[in-house]
Point group: C2
Chain length 250, copies 2
């Protein structure tokens, strides 16, 4: 069931059957389901669990006193929220659902046990943590330096490639189940300007967006237009840890 997580981690390293079974167990624990605009956890809460997104899209966000909201990152199926969050006393941001979301609440004990017994998983989760940090840094670059069109294009490239990594793309298409207002809150742009910019990207043929279906006819072209380089996603490790034993295990 945590097939998206497994797909994602296998972009970095090969997992044994036992590793995958361990992840199954982890994902089976305390499953919950919530609707869009509901929160998984709120700023100020005690972070008791590590949340694993199984289905749907969620986001980290922070709301300022005067109502302004910034979406800090998107959670896609297979994404894990801060494997060591329990070191901190309270959440400094909220995590909310953008669509209906199914997720698993993983206890500290379970996670500790699984990583102690499966070094491959530990390694893969480290990679995931580092890539998550790299994505956050790239957002800093995105918000700081890129124009609205570059910024949006960059985000769409990132989301498409991340979705592809968890098996949720169909050719050069994928879903984009968020509102333009959400995109605005993520990119630090007004919803009006998001709309203008989407029209612009549509006009140049870089994207096709109908309803919640996004198509990127020419990913390389969109990447070039957005100054997007996929290096920060660190997808260059595939097969790096392969040896004879691994092959016999799977």
């Amino acid at each position: 069931m945590p097939r998206h997580l497994i797909s994602k981690l296998e972009q970095f390293t090969r997992l044994s059957v036992a590793d995958k079974q361990a992840l199954e167990t982890v994902a089976g624990e305390k499953r919950r389901r919530i609707g869009p605009r509901e929160d998984i956890i709120r700023e100020g809460d005690d972070p008791a669990y590590v949340n694993l997104i199984l289905e749907g899209w969620a986001c980290r966000y922070k709301q300022l006193e005067d109502g302004r909201r910034q979406i800090i990152s998107f959670f896609l199926p297979g994404d894990l929220c801060d494997t060591h969050i329990y070191v901190l006393r309270e959440m400094d941001h909220s995590i909310g659902a953008l669509t209906p979301v199914t997720f698993a609440e993983i206890s500290r004990e379970t996670l500790t046990r699984v990583t102690a017994e499966h070094s491959r998983i530990t390694q893969a989760l480290w990679w995931d943590t580092l890539v998550t940090a790299a994505i956050q840094r790239e957002w800093t670059v995105n918000l700081g330096q890129r124009s609205a069109a570059e910024r949006l294009g960059h985000l769409l490239c990132e989301l498409f490639i991340r979705l592809r990594g968890v098996g949720l793309t169909d050719g050069n298409s994928c879903v984009l189940p968020v509102t333009q207002a959400d995109l605005g809150d993520a990119m630090g742009l007004s919803n009006v300007h998001i709309n203008r910019t989407l029209q612009e990207l549509r006009g140049t043929g870089l994207i096709v967006l109908k309803g919640r279906q996004l198509t990127i006819p020419n990913l390389a072209a969109l990447q070039a237009a957005s100054l997007f380089s996929p290096n920060y996603l660190h997808l260059d490790h595939v097969g790096r840890h392969l040896d004879a034993n691994d092959l016999s295990e799977t």
Copy 2:
């Protein structure tokens, strides 16, 4: 010698004499010194070492093909760059000196050994890693939602509090050894606008900035004006892990 690192970590947990000696050893390894505008490591390089900043200011940054530069974060004395960076094959960003910098290159082996032998240090480094991630998230909020004045004010609050945590403030003053162009590259603003905004903050009396000396006469006021809440720095743990044994050790 790594007194700044020790000060910082002791904001989270108390360290034993043995813990501190271990950190001394770590910081003694492979010391290097470089001048401003030189790089510690570059995008694309193989991350062989974990760098520990001992003296001076550095920054993570990323340069776009067309020359635009974004400073992604600041490194102050006592800051450590990505304790598990060696999981990745290559750097996705550069780290450069803003002032003359002294740093230590820590090998993977050393770090592994020290954390294996000192669980308190492991725990403290986890806290540091999580706070670093929280700071990066806060920058996303900063760049996405805050106006120029709020943004700059917020950065100055953050830097002041971080410097205070490593013993580098003097009353309500500290150094700010970076150019206005650097601040612009960090905040996604032009150097002209940084200058305008600094004048504005000076005009309202929220800051006094002469040369490289920054004074914040009323930190609470600057925080309020900048919508700054220190919760994301997670400084609320002090003394949390105290018990009789700890007291006898120090």
